[in-house]
């Protein structure tokens, strides 16, 4: 996004600067190079609709400030979007309640305590942070990984997963790939969350690995 923005800014500045030079050197015949920048016509136009111009300037200033705020906020937003929401796992209905509902259609709704049914058995809420930490710790359990950063974003049951690994100098890249696969498999088995792995990036330190002679 920033690259596109600065390309457009570059284009606009180049066009504005070139237009200024062309006018200044009299290349554009329809503009008088001896004319002042703030001409009497412009001032007359402003004075004719002064209230409107003042309102437009105020609105323009506020719009520019809003754009500036959005641009500033976008620079501090982390990659991958907002983190996934907490995971809610509803408990399965009681077997006896299901059977009774199947065979006795006249029976009240057994899941509704107000109608004489069995109270809702509730569910389990798993904090998104806990899921992040669980996967991170599992990844860091390998001796070749010094630090792991994970980012889960999107729908809680099928989030997008970004993984960053800082590894030791002698880390084996193939081993790391299979370790990440196994960690994600374990994560899916234990949490029921099936992440869509979108990126695994490894950073290897600059120093030479320890060699065994």
């Amino acid at each position: 996004m920033n690259r596109t923005l600065w390309t457009v800014i570059g284009l606009v500045l180049l066009a504005a600067g070139a237009a200024g030079l062309l006018v200044g050197y009299g290349v554009l015949s329809f503009v008088d190079r001896q004319q002042v920048l703030l001409s009497s016509d412009l001032i007359a136009g402003w004075n004719r609709h002064k209230a409107w111009w003042l309102a437009i300037t105020i609105m323009g200033g506020l719009l520019v400030a809003l754009l500036g705020y959005l641009l500033l906020r976008a620079q501090f937003r982390r990659r991958g979007g907002a983190p996934m929401a907490d995971l809610y796992l509803p408990s399965s209905p009681a077997p006896e309640a299901t059977e009774a509902a199947q065979f006795d259609e006249a029976a009240p709704d057994r899941a509704d305590p107000d109608r004489g049914g069995i109270p809702d058995r509730g569910g389990t809420e798993v904090a998104s942070r806990a899921l992040h930490r669980a996967l991170q710790r599992d990844l860091e359990s390998d001796q070749q990984i010094r630090d792991a950063t994970v980012r889960l974003s999107g729908p809680p049951h099928h989030p997008r997963l970004l993984v960053r690994l800082a590894v030791t100098a002698d880390a084996d890249v193939g081993h790391l790939a299979s370790h990440v696969d196994r960690a994600i498999h374990r994560f899916t088995t234990t949490s029921g969350v099936q992440p869509d792995l979108s990126e695994v990036v490894v950073r290897i330190p600059a120093r030479a690995p320890a060699r065994v002679e």
Binding site: G10, G20, Q34, V36, I58, L71, Q75
Partner: protein, 176 residues
């Protein structure tokens, strides 16, 4: 360049936020019969009423603006080195390594093979990249250096057939 763009964008955002608010507040003050508190509107008005398109300050400002725009365009449109490169390890997606890591590892491998002042650069796209190595060594060391670099790339699971270009400069004098 990505970091530079991010810093520039943050600064631009801050400038737009402050300038936009200043213009809105100062204009509101003028609209309600007051005088601008921060913006020297009277001085700017007087300058713009005197300055002509043919005047030197206007021409110099236009030239500087055009030059800045041109530099920005060149910097943004020229090919950027990839931030990370894909390896052949892992399935979907393949595992990636940061470009700097690959460059450092190639330089270390070259240094172990006897290259002085090795300087490596990874270019291309994340899925299809190439390595360029420059350094100081004797021409007869070239094969050994190439083998060392390729062994290091194999260790990093670089895609098979990743192109390697080696440019060696002769040392100033042979050490006996």
């Amino acid at each position: 360049m990505r970091t530079t763009n991010r810093i520039l964008s943050a600064l631009l955002g801050l400038v737009l936020l402050v300038a936009g608010l200043a213009v809105a507040i100062e204009t509101a003050l003028i609209a309600w019969g007051g005088r601008p508190a921060v913006i020297p509107a009277d001085r700017w008005y007087a300058s713009l009423r005197e300055l002509r398109f043919a005047d030197r300050p206007f021409l110099v400002t236009s030239a500087v603006v055009a030059l800045v725009g041109l530099v920005l365009l060149i910097l943004q449109l020229r090919p950027w080195p990839p931030e990370r490169v894909q390896t052949s390890a892992g399935d979907s997606p393949p595992l990636s390594i940061t470009r700097r890591s690959v460059e450092h590892r190639v330089e270390l491998a070259a240094a172990r093979a006897g290259v002085e002042h090795p300087d490596s650069a990874v270019r291309g796209r994340p899925g299809r990249w190439r390595v360029r190595l420059r350094g100081v060594a004797w021409p007869e060391q070239r094969d050994a250096v190439l083998a060392a670099v390729q062994a290091e790339l194999d260790r990093l699971y670089a895609p098979p057939g990743t192109p390697v270009t080696i440019t060696l400069r002769r040392p100033a004098r042979r050490v006996a």
